[in-house]
Amino acid sequence: MSSTSSTNLKDLILNGIVKENTIFKLALSLCPSIAVTNSLKNGIYMGIAVLFVQVMVNLTISLMRNIIHPKVRLPIFMLVISGWVTVTQLMMAAFVPDVYAKVGLYIALIVAFASILARAEMFASKNSIIPSMADGLGMGIGFLFALTTISFFRELVGKGSLTVPTGLSTQHVFTFINTKPLLIMILPAGGFLAVGILMALFNWINARYAAKSAHASH
């Protein structure tokens, strides 16, 4: 994993999406995956915010890695993360105020995400800029992917509709069923159910895929 050769950038990105998917594999940052995923739009915006913070934090830490004293690295990491989260927060409040009103609290919580601090500590502080950014990109995309899947599933099953962002402050609601088919799925209890079911599905598909490719290579 600590390999910095530029040939396996693709592996670095894929690692965050599949092998170490923050939510489905590491089961980290589950709070937003339940709290903000009751509509597709919120899930996507939250995922994008995390993606942005992850990449920028990894970039910054990687740039500063030689001047950070190891003894005070964690406070420094936290400062950097908080800085980028504040940037994200202000940007979202300015450009997508309606989304910010709903997910704002959780945007601030990105500061405490285990996944972001973990990548800064384990990867960005030891690697150069390009691999660090690739790693952040992979992790962020993995998170975005997980949040999108969960919120897609929950909104579709819970409301019978999908709210798709078509621009910064525009959206389109696709309605499939006019009544609420499974109300529980957009309630908090349904969030746990959805995350559990999708996590199981993700790992099951992964296991089958791994078994197949192992079989093919023999």
Binding site: L182, L183, I184, L187, L193, A200
Partner: protein, 344 residues
Amino acid sequence: MEAKKEQLIVSVSPHIKSDETTSRIMWTVSLALMPAMLSGLYFFGPKALFITLLCIVSSIGFEQLYMKIVDKKSPVGDGSAFLTGLLLGMNMPSSLWSFSPFTAHVPVVASFVAIVITKQLFGGLGFNVFNPALIGRAFALISWPKAMTVWNEPTAAFLAMDAKTSATPLGVLKEEGIAKLLEIFGDKVSLYQHLLTGNRAGSIGETSAIALLIGGIFLLAKRYISWHIPVSFLGTAALMAWIFGGKGALFTGDPIVHLISGGMMLGAWFMATDYVTSPTIKKGQLLFGAGCGFLTMLIRLKGGFPEGVMFAILIMNCLSPLIDRSFRSKVFGVVSQSKPKEAK
């Protein structure tokens, strides 16, 4: 398989002394439910039968399907899926069998949740944390709050109103108080009569307190369940109802109305006593039952729902491993109470 066996040995229930099998217990419990089921059919007609059959068939079907998918041997013969379906059906309002607002899918989805999510995904019979039938019903109630609370009046109604649907006695009690309830049913004796025989609106299998009591006493006599959970459940609930149930002053409530209405009897005799999800130590069972009774009355008197048996049992279900463990260590420390200990 081994763990299942072990669980039966660890349990202090008397059935271990004979050659009882899981399937025999399941079928006997189902048999004990029959009086209540028949009374449900009598009062709510063929709709009740359809709903219950739908639950049973889909429970067994989902179990078979899951077993096929994961490539395990099908345990349909042990009757646990049948029992889950039966209990689930008895916890549904008969009005679900309706097609103009289509609600007949509710029992099927509830069965899926009960069997696949609550039971099989946790490892199958013996490993489920929660009572499958209750989770199925809770899921349905939260997902379709409207459809799940349309109560048909019993067809042999002595009630004054001629409407097809009505509130349950507990609903009336919650919204309008005991005076309104007495006004509907005449006087106290008539109210008790209606509640005891099951001639009232409610879920299919929960209405007849006498029929449920017969089944419960049958299980007690066969020593399939012990008295600890039902008695502490009902006792605590009665005490709470007596103390806090009245309007205004303390100690003016009517415990009998609370005991024989709602799902209290069904819950206390058949749901809370589920082997898998209740404590195995007797003292723990007393605490478990008391907790169920307390929470039920708390929800009934102070909560948003008119009925709280289901949520109370589910909450206590997740506490039961904890109860088991805390009582186990206590038993070790004090006087020699060797009976339940040697198996582990």
